[in-house]
């Protein structure tokens, strides 16, 4: 078994070379699914370090972006030993950046983290219309819908999306969480979402509490 603490530290340091070589070695050792989830946990703790350093102004947005890339890459390396297709998924989540907004860095970070937490993720991409959210919800029947946006006008698009889910009669079947820099409690109420956050790790915890 690999040194989990060292892995956490390497993720926190954003040391791609070390992270990749540790994970590749780990995967080659034919580990159990259980062990693999512990390794995912260690990566997530590494992301928490990144978040702390960001709060302390030691890392900046560019470093967060690279952290998101690194995490996605880590999950990709681990996928073959995470139990494959048949493994039990914790739940389904549909995510996307709302209409009019083309920013997806935050959404992607949340997407990889929630995938790492064992959710099946349907990512609709950017500039996603309310109708596209509704269609996907009807199709895959997720427990959770996650909307992302960083433009001020994204808040209006989020509201329009929740309204459309209501009109289509599917709002009650899902929990809605919103994220991105401009969201806050007032916006959350106004939009009619169930939860909001500007921190992807907290978002994952909220979702875990729902399933």
């Amino acid at each position: 078994m690999l040194d989990l603490q060292a892995l956490t530290q390497a993720v926190g340091d954003l040391d791609e070379e070390v992270v990749v070589s540790m994970l590749e070695e780990f995967v080659a050792s034919d580990p159990s699914g259980d062990e693999a989830y512990k390794v995912v946990g260690a990566c997530q703790q590494g992301m928490a370090i990144v978040g702390d350093l960001f709060e302390k102004n030691e890392y900046f947005v560019g470093d967060l972006i690279f952290a998101g890339e690194l995490l996605t890459q880590a999950i990709d390396i681990l996928k073959p030993v995470l139990g494959g297709e048949e493994s039990q998924k914790v739940g389904k989540v549909v995510i996307g950046t709302v209409e009019g907004d083309l920013h997806d860095i935050g959404k992607n970070i949340f997407g990889s983290m929630i995938e790492a937490a064992g959710f099946e993720v349907y990512d609709l991409g950017i500039d996603v219309t309310a109708a596209a959210f509704v269609d996907k919800v009807k199709e895959v029947k997720p427990q959770i819908v996650g909307m992302s946006g960083v433009l001020t006008l994204a808040l209006d698009a989020m509201k329009a999306t929740v309204d459309a889910l209501n009109e289509a009669g599917v709002r009650d079947g899902v929990r809605v969480i919103i994220g991105g820099n401009p969201v806050n409690e007032d916006a959350c109420k106004h939009i009619g979402a169930d939860a909001f956050t500007t921190n992807a790790a907290e978002g994952v915890k909220i979702c875990q509490g729902w399933v």
Partner: protein, 384 residues
């Protein structure tokens, strides 16, 4: 008419003094509201109007008359015809009619070496057809597309320029000649590797990023050059990536070629205006090093600290938060202007511009009312 000419001369003198480090007679005022604002404020459709700029002349005329400032507000960053004809992916019109810049990638990471060896050729042969899809064609079609686009570009700008000359003649405003260029690292991020791509590249291929910035530097200098360097014109450089980087990355990747760019432009005898976007408080000591009288328009940060650190060497501007025009009442908006005047005017090197451009109107006209009050306040009370 002679009164107008005199007013225009007086205004030009304000900028001549300001840009050469002398305190002008009063603080010059620039309108933060843009063409997009004016079109909407006077009830035109934004998307349509930008396609037919000639029909906006009455709008611009009213705008200049009702919001008097020293510089002309008639101008645009980007008009759509040119971009549409080229099939642009780098600059597109959003559903609301605003021209915007989505994330694009003109250069793949494995192409760095080829790019560094001959950046201009690589841009022409590979990057342009990727970002401007209509150029991804047979040479003959490509030539037609390019000819059409350039024609549309020069027609649109000639129309806008003529409107500006007419309104300036009527209202005595001045319009400095402006060229636009980018810091080499920002150019790499905005058009070649994307925000995401460059943020990973500095960790994965640091030496290639440094070499690429050096390779595009001559192009950025050329792009920033004015036809006739002149005290009233400047090269405008919006700054993007630095606040999102660690200082040690900034010092290695961003600063060296950016500093050379500004120095080279200054040596040619022209002014440089930096739009210091986001928060640069971590980098004030670097900014201090730039050539004397570099014009710096700040978005965020502490104006007091900036005045102390940079006020003896550079021309300072910006800081006025346009969001206040939306949320505040008239008295609060004017107080803020007074506060900034009190802090920045004593440097003798202050130019009133806001922290960002105003590109949209609100439904009840509050922004316009507050804006008018603030512009008038600074115009009449802006002494050094």
């Amino acid at each position: 008419m002679t009164d107008i000419k005199e007013l225009q001369n007086e205004r030009e003198q304000l900028f001549r003094d300001l840009f050469s480090g002398k305190a002008p007679k009063r603080v010059p005022v620039t309108n933060p509201a843009t063409l997009e604002f004016a079109i909407q404020y006077y009830g035109e459709d934004l998307a349509e109007a930008q396609w037919d700029i000639a029909r906006c002349e009455p709008v611009f005329d009213k705008f200049c008359q009702e919001f008097p400032t020293d510089t002309s507000p008639v101008g645009s960053l980007r008009l759509p015809a040119f971009y549409q004809i080229l099939g642009s992916k780098a600059i597109v019109m959003g559903s609301g009619g605003f021209m915007q810049h989505p994330e694009v990638m003109g250069l793949m990471p494995e192409e760095y070496d080829e790019f560094i060896a001959a950046p201009y050729d690589f841009i022409i042969d590979t990057v342009l057809p990727r970002l401007y899809t209509e150029l991804d064609a047979e040479p003959s079609k490509k030539a037609m597309v390019l000819a059409k686009a350039v024609k549309a570009f020069s027609d649109d700008w000639a129309t806008l320029g003529a409107i500006r000359d007419r309104t300036n003649a009527k209202y005595g405003m001045v319009a400095p000649v402006v060229s636009l260029t980018e810091a080499p690292f920002d150019f790499m991020a905005d058009f070649l590797r994307s925000f995401k791509g460059i943020s990973s590249d500095i960790r994965r291929y640091p030496e290639k990023v440094v070499a690429a910035c050096e390779a595009v530097l001559p192009l950025m200098i050329k792009k920033g050059k004015l036809p006739n360097p002149n005290i009233l014109g400047f090269s405008f450089i919006p700054l993007h990536m630095a606040p999102y980087m660690r200082e040690k990355d900034f010092a290695k990747f961003y600063w060296p070629t950016f500093k050379t760019l500004v120095e080279e432009l200054a040596v040619m005898g022209q002014k440089v205006q930096l739009f210091v976007e986001h928060d640069w408080m971590r980098y004030l000591d670097y900014l201090y090093e730039l050539p004397e009288n570099t014009i710096m328009r700040f978005e965020y940060g502490d104006p007091k600290v900036v005045a102390d650190k940079l006020g003896k060497k550079h021309v300072l501007s910006g800081f006025y938060p346009v969001t206040l025009l939306q949320t505040g009442d008239k008295a609060q908006c004017i107080d803020k202007a007074k506060e900034l005047l009190d802090i920045l005017a004593p440097t003798g090197r202050y130019w009133f511009q806001a922290d960002k451009s105003i590109i949209s109107t609100d439904s009840d006209g509050k922004v316009a009312d507050n804006l008018r009050a603030v512009l008038e306040y600074v115009y009449t009370n802006g002494t050094y």
